[in-house]
Amino acid sequence: MPKLPIYMDNHATTPVDKRVLEAMLPYFSEKFGNAASRNHSFGWEAEEAVDRARGQIAQLINAKSKEIIFTSGATESDNLAIKGVVEFYKEKGDHIVTCVTEHKAVLDSCRALERAGKATVTYLPVDKYGMVDPDAVRKAITDRTVLVTIMYANNEIGTIHPIAEIGRIARERGVVFHCDAVQAVGKIPVDVDRDHIDLLSISAHKIYGPKGVGALYVRSKGPRVRIAPQMDGGGHERGMRSGTLNVTGIVGLGKACEIAAAEMAEENRRLLDLRDKLQAGIFERLDEVFLNGHPTERLPGNLNLSFAYVEGESLLMGLHDIAVSSGSACTSATLEPSYVIRALGVSDELAHSSIRFGLGRFNTEEEVDFVTDRVAREVKRLRDMSPLYEMAREGIDLKSVQWKAE
C-alpha cells in the first residue's frame, strides 16, 4: 500500500527536487547579496550564481545565456512577451495569431490588448486531438500580424503542437513567434533554433524547481527580437524586466534545468511506462472511457480521460486521497467544464466527466496500481448511481432526450 495521499497532479505544480533545494539554501542567508551590487563580493557572488543559472537554462533549450530574462513565473513571461511585442512593434502592425486552447495567461493577455484597442486577435481552432494546423497559422497571418503565440504542449490534455513547423512559417513571414513552453521545457527536447522560436516562456515550479520564478527567452540574433518592458524600475535584465533578481529562485530554476537536461531521456522512458500502464489498466477495467488529447503526440506524464456518465467533481470527491484534477487547476473553482476539452468538440457531458492525471518524477508503479484500482472502483460505484448510465443501458439515446434544465 503506497503512502497516502498520492500526488498525481504534476501539471499543476511539482515538489522541489531535494537537489534543487540543496543548491538554493546557501543563497537565503549566507550568500544573500543583490546580483545588481557591482562593488562588493556579496554582489559578485550573487551575480555569479545568476549567470550560472542563465547558462543552465540556456543549455536546456539551446539558447545563449544572455538571451534568458528572469521573471516571477510563466504568467509574467507570457504577459511580457505578448504585451511587449505588441507595444514594441505597434508601427508595424497590431494583429496576433493564437489558439483557443492556450493557457489563460496567454488568452487573457490577448483579450486585454483587444479590449484596450491595441490589437486584433485570431483565435485558431484545434482538431479533435487538440492540435493546431500549421496551415491555419499560415493562412491567419496578414501584413498586420506582429505575433504568433502557440503553446508547446497543452497543460490539460498534453497534446504537443507541431511547433517547429509553426515556427518556420512565422519566421518565413517575418512574424515574431512566442511559445509558452511551460509544460514542455525539461519534459521533452525543446530547441529554440530547431523550432524557430523567438520568445519562450519557462516556469520553475513545473520542473521540480521553486514557485515564483520563471524566465523568458528572448532571441538576440537571426532575427534580434525586441520587447517593450512592462514594469518600470532599475532597468535590470537588459532593461526588459526591472526588479531585484530573485537569486535563490533563479539558482533553483537553473539547477532544475540542469537536472532535467541530464535525466530527461531516462525519466521520459519511465514516465511513459507508468502512464501507459495507468491508461491500459483503466481501459481494461472500465468501458466507455475516452482519451482526451493526442494518442501519441502527447507529454509522457499526461493522461486526460473522460469517464462517461460520471461527473468529474464527484469522481474527484471519491478519489479524496489521490490528487488529480478535473478541468485545470486554474479553473477548478468554477463549475464550467474545461474550455480546452470543449475545444476538442467533445460533448459538454463528457467535458464534465474529464479527469487529468499528471505523472511526475516521484510517482511509483505501486501508486499507479493503487490509482488504477481506486478509479475503477469509484467510477463503477458512481455509475451505479448515475441515471444516465441506467438510461444508456436501457438503450435510450441520451441525445434524443428533452432535458428540463433549470
Partner: protein
C-alpha cells in the same frame, strides 16, 4: 472545495439509491437537469393512491457530491409525507441541512424541482382515476 461532513456522509453512504419500475402506476418519476449542465437527478416516489402519502423513494444522480447528497437527503425527507406537504418543501431546507455553499445552491434547487416533477408525474396518471387496486410491487434494485 471543502465539503460539509453531511455532504460527505451522503456521498459515501447514499440513502435509497436505485430505481422503481417507472411503469408502476403508484410510482411517480421526476428527471430534472441536463447532462451538459453537469447535473441530472432522477427521483422516484412510491405514493399510496388512497392516503396520498409517499411510502418510499429512490434516486439516481449524475452530478457533483452536493447534487448526490441533495438527492439522497431528499429521499429521506419526503418519506412518510403527504404529497401536498412534500410539494411545499423548499430548497432552503436542503441548503441548511447539508450546509451547501452558495455555488452549490443550484443542487438544492434541482432536488426541490425533482420532488415536484415526481409528484407531478404521479398525479398525471392518477388525477381523475380510481385509486389503483394493485398491490405495490417490490422495489427493483438497480
Amino acid at each position: 472545495m471543502a465539503y460539509s461532513d453531511k455532504v460527505i456522509d451522503h456521498y459515501n453512504n447514499p440513502r435509497n439509491v436505485g430505481s422503481f419500475d417507472k411503469n408502476d402506476a403508484d410510482v411517480g418519476t421526476g428527471i430534472v437537469g441536463a447532462p451538459e449542465c453537469g447535473d441530472v437527478m432522477k427521483l422516484q416516489l412510491r405514493i399510496n393512491p388512497e392516503s396520498r402519502v409517499i411510502e418510499d423513494a429512490r434516486f439516481k444522480t449524475f452530478g457533483c457530491g452536493s447534487a448526490i447528497a441533495s438527492s439522497s437527503y431528499v429521499t429521506e425527507l419526503v418519506k412518510g409525507k403527504h404529497i401536498d406537504e412534500a410539494m411545499t418543501i423548499r430548497n432552503t431546507v436542503i441548503v441548511q441541512e447539508l450546509n451547501l455553499p452558495p455555488v452549490k445552491i443550484h443542487c438544492s434547487v434541482l432536488a426541490e424541482d425533482a420532488i415536484k416533477a415526481a409528484i407531478g408525474d404521479w398525479k398525471k396518471h392518477h388525477e381523475g382515476r380510481e385509486p389503483a387496486a394493485a398491490e405495490p410491487r417490490k422495489a427493483q434494485e438497480a
